[in-house]
């Protein structure tokens, strides 16, 4: 099976590459990226004239809800949602039911992902059994079964000693520890960012300090143990500043920022819009600006969506009682391209933070169009006008804060392992 993607503007930050080229694919592998018009043999042709051809996007933070919560999402609908958003590789968090805290659950996820066969899915194992923060999960066996990182995402590990041992133990198996930084004794049942809007709505606020104090703890543990820390969904200015400082001190730390924390503020929660209820919460304009700056200067290593499907019934119960989380894979590109159109970040940097950026953190064989790489590509039109319409999503859920918003940027084709996984 041979595929040629011709006439596109190929941007591959892993090779510092930006030119009109043809990409030749054979047997699921990139054979060549060439200016030559001559195609040797029988190719299926995709004409990408006027479009951008990039390495397939990677989302290192998603929730696929299978096993256990298939009414929200499953591995198949999650795969389709990812492909429609231009993602060819995604990592899925452990908070399923049963929790992915042992090899049998990991194996089940890997098997289901292969059966669906649309995109590459790598599970993230739990740090602690049942995400209870008491005993370490069977990290070694999960890693042998395919987990590429460990995290108790959503259920922060409050016990500092357990977290320390998680770093040390994960070090033996070479997988990074991802922290969802939140001091539960400070966030204490809060529903949104603590500030003017929370006061106006009469909702319990979550101070930035709840996140920042835990980022600092985990940076100190990374230093203490000499093992890699990846900070999930950084949302505050000071949080980013602490990571910038840690990097200066050569502590092994990386972090991700989300499209929602980059572009939305807590004002989005006005009128009790539960689709804007997310953890960590949407913060302030100053925080957004700091995150954008961090993306520009490399303090933020990648963009991840924290795609978190919830049913309408779990959102339409009053803001305070609604589940936290929003879905983001099908909107990430258009939302982030807004920053490019507003000249706040470059297109190259955006693509980098969706491709080689996350690939490096988790040691994934992805995110590059180098010869011999897996043929994962995303072809998109950065200028095509779109209106976000949740009804058209491939995800099973509809909890987006961007409903009805007009943006620019559309995925035209997603190619994974040389096969078309999505075509608009």
């Amino acid at each position: 099976m041979k595929l040629a993607i011709i006439n596109g503007r190929v941007i591959d930050p892993s090779q510092n590459f930006d030119a009109i080229k043809n990409v030749l694919i054979e047997d699921g592998i990139i054979r060549d990226v060439t200016s030559s018009k001559k195609l040797d043999g029988q190719y299926k042709i995709i004409d990408a004239k006027g479009a951008i051809v990039a390495p397939g996007f990677i989302d290192c933070h998603t929730h696929l809800r299978e096993p256990g919560f298939e009414y929200r999402e499953d591995i198949e609908s999650g795969s389709r949602s990812a492909a429609a958003g231009g993602f060819t590789t995604i990592l899925c968090m452990a908070n399923t039911n049963p929790v992915n805290d042992n090899a049998s659950v990991t194996q089940m996820i890997v098997k289901r992902a292969k059966e669906v066969g649309l995109i590459n899915i790598y599970p993230i194992g739990a740090v602690s059994k049942k995400l209870e923060g008491k005993e370490l999960a069977e990290i070694g066996e999960m890693v042998s079964s395919g987990c590429v990182a460990i995290s108790d995402d959503g259920m922060p590990v409050m016990n500092g000693n357990l977290m320390r041992h998680a770093f040390e133990y994960a070090k033996s198996f070479g997988v990074p520890v991802i922290t969802h930084a939140e001091d539960l004794t400070l966030s204490c049942g809060g529903a949104m960012n603590e500030g003017k809007t929370s006061v106006a709505l009469g909702l319990k606020g979550i101070p930035a300090a709840a996140e920042e104090s835990m980022i600092q703890r985990d940076i100190l543990l990374a230093k203490l143990t000499g093992h890699h820390l990846h900070v999930a969904h950084v949302s505050t200015k000071r949080g980013i500043e602490m990571i910038r400082q840690a990097k200066k001190e050569k502590i092994s730390v990386t972090c991700e920022v989300t499209p929602h924390h980059l572009t939305l503020t807590d004002v989005t929660c006005s009128h009790y819009n539960a689709n804007a209820k997310v953890n960590p919460p949407l913060r302030t304009e100053a925080d957004c600006q700091a995150l954008i700056q961090a993306l520009l200067d490399g303090t933020a290593d990648c963009i991840a969506t924290d795609h978190a499907p919830h049913s309408q019934d779990e959102k339409q119960v009053g803001f305070g009682a609604a589940n936290c989380g929003l879905i983001g894979m099908e909107t990430a590109l258009a939302v982030c391209l807004k920053l490019v159109h507003e000249k706040k970040i470059t297109l190259k940097r955006l693509i980098e933070s969706l491709t080689i950026g996350p690939a490096k953190i988790f040691g994934l064989k992805a995110g590059s169009l180098k010869k011999g790489s897996p043929a994962d590509l995303t072809i998109f039109d950065p200028n095509k006008a779109v209106t976000i319409t949740a009804e058209t999503f491939h995800s099973k859920s509809r909890n987006t804060p961007w409903e009805g918003i007009k943006l620019k940027g559309k995925v035209l084709f997603t190619v994974c392992n040389g096969k078309v996984a999505y075509e608009s």
Binding site: E194, L201, G202, L203, V317, G318, G320, A321
Partner: protein, 310 residues
């Protein structure tokens, strides 16, 4: 004359004209409650649903009486003993109730924003009878009516609101309403109960009630919710009473014509000493009386009552 809004979810929904109309209507309707036969046919044939998903005595009784004095039929609905306790979702419950064609829904709930959620999902007008730590607009309106009755004005008055500003829906509605009416509002209490961002409203902040009492024309003290002790907002009721309670000692420096208000229920000896609550400056029971009038006015205006008031 009609209100500019279909629902009363927040004081923000009301224009100055609306507020004027509500107070005027309430004043006119108040006389009905003093008659031997306390009933007029204004809302005959209308059905008012009283959904009290959180406990309430005075507000629920007040709405119920208000509706009955205008001849509306009322159906009171609480979460215990209903399908909600069988696990039916709130929206399903309310949509089922709506299918029985009520003309108005009064809702109280422990979560902020539930009246907004219901207003979005059903067709009839919704009145917020207190939602979580957000607002209690009808309480603020009856408080305003009481202030205007006693002081003959509200503009320019120094009004002190003392207590748990952070968690009080009464405080939030009153701050919005009284500043809209150009009163000078000061909020006071321990800093654990006064969010810094309350400064976004045009209010002064004080942590020492002794400093603000001498200036105050009206003092509104809020109920201390005992469960906040567990949240470490204050160390003990005794200490709270000593530093932030209204009593003979703290009230010594008050103006001679000061008016004392409390939304109830009162924790006697905590936020207010019995001799102050029952003293000559207290208008606490007038607030309750005015509550019925204000709620009659709102039901009348929102249910489209046109006739039969005389």
């Amino acid at each position: 004359m009609n209100l500019s809004t279909k629902h009363i979810l927040s004081i923000r929904d009301l224009t100055l004209k609306d507020i004027e109309l509500i107070l005027e209507t309430a004043t006119n309707l108040q006389e009905i409650s003093k008659r031997a036969v306390k009933k007029v046919p204004a809302l005959r044939g209308k059905t008012v649903l009283l959904c009290f998903f959180e406990d309430s005595t005075r507000t629920r009784a007040s709405f119920d009486l208000a509706a009955k004095r205008l001849s509306a039929d009322t159906l009171t609905f609480t979460s215990s003993g209903s399908a909600l306790s069988k696990g039916e979702s709130l929206l399903d419950t309310v949509k089922n109730l709506e299918a029985m064609n009520p003309d108005l829904l009064v809702v109280r709930h422990k979560l902020s924003g539930i009246p907004h959620l219901l207003a979005k999902n059903i067709n009839c007008p919704v009145i917020n009878a207190g939602d979580g730590t957000h607002e209690h607009p009808t309480q603020a309106l009856l408080d305003l009516m009481t202030i205007v009755q006693t002081k003959k004005k509200v503009k320019g008055l120094n009004i002190a609101i003392i207590g748990d500003i952070l968690n009080s829906r009464v405080a939030r509605s009153n701050i919005l309403l009284l500043t809209k009416m150009e009163a000078k509002v000061t909020v006071a209490g321990p800093a654990t109960m006064i969010p810094a961002d309350i400064a976004q409203y045009d209010v002064k902040i004080s942590y020492d009630i002794r400093k603000i009492i001498p200036e105050a024309d009206v003092i509104m003290t809020l109920r201390i919710q005992r469960e906040r002790e567990a949240e470490c907002l204050f160390p003990s009721l005794r200490e709270y009473a000593r530093f932030f309670g209204l009593n003979k000692e703290t009230m010594q420096s008050a103006k001679k014509d000061v008016v004392i208000m409390h939304p109830g229920p009162v924790n006697r000896g905590v936020e207010i000493a019995p001799e102050i609550a029952d003293g000559p400056h207290s208008v606490i029971l007038d607030q309750v009386t005015n509550g019925v009038a204000v709620r009659m006015a709102l039901l009348y205006l929102l249910c489209g009552g046109k006739e039969g008031v005389e």
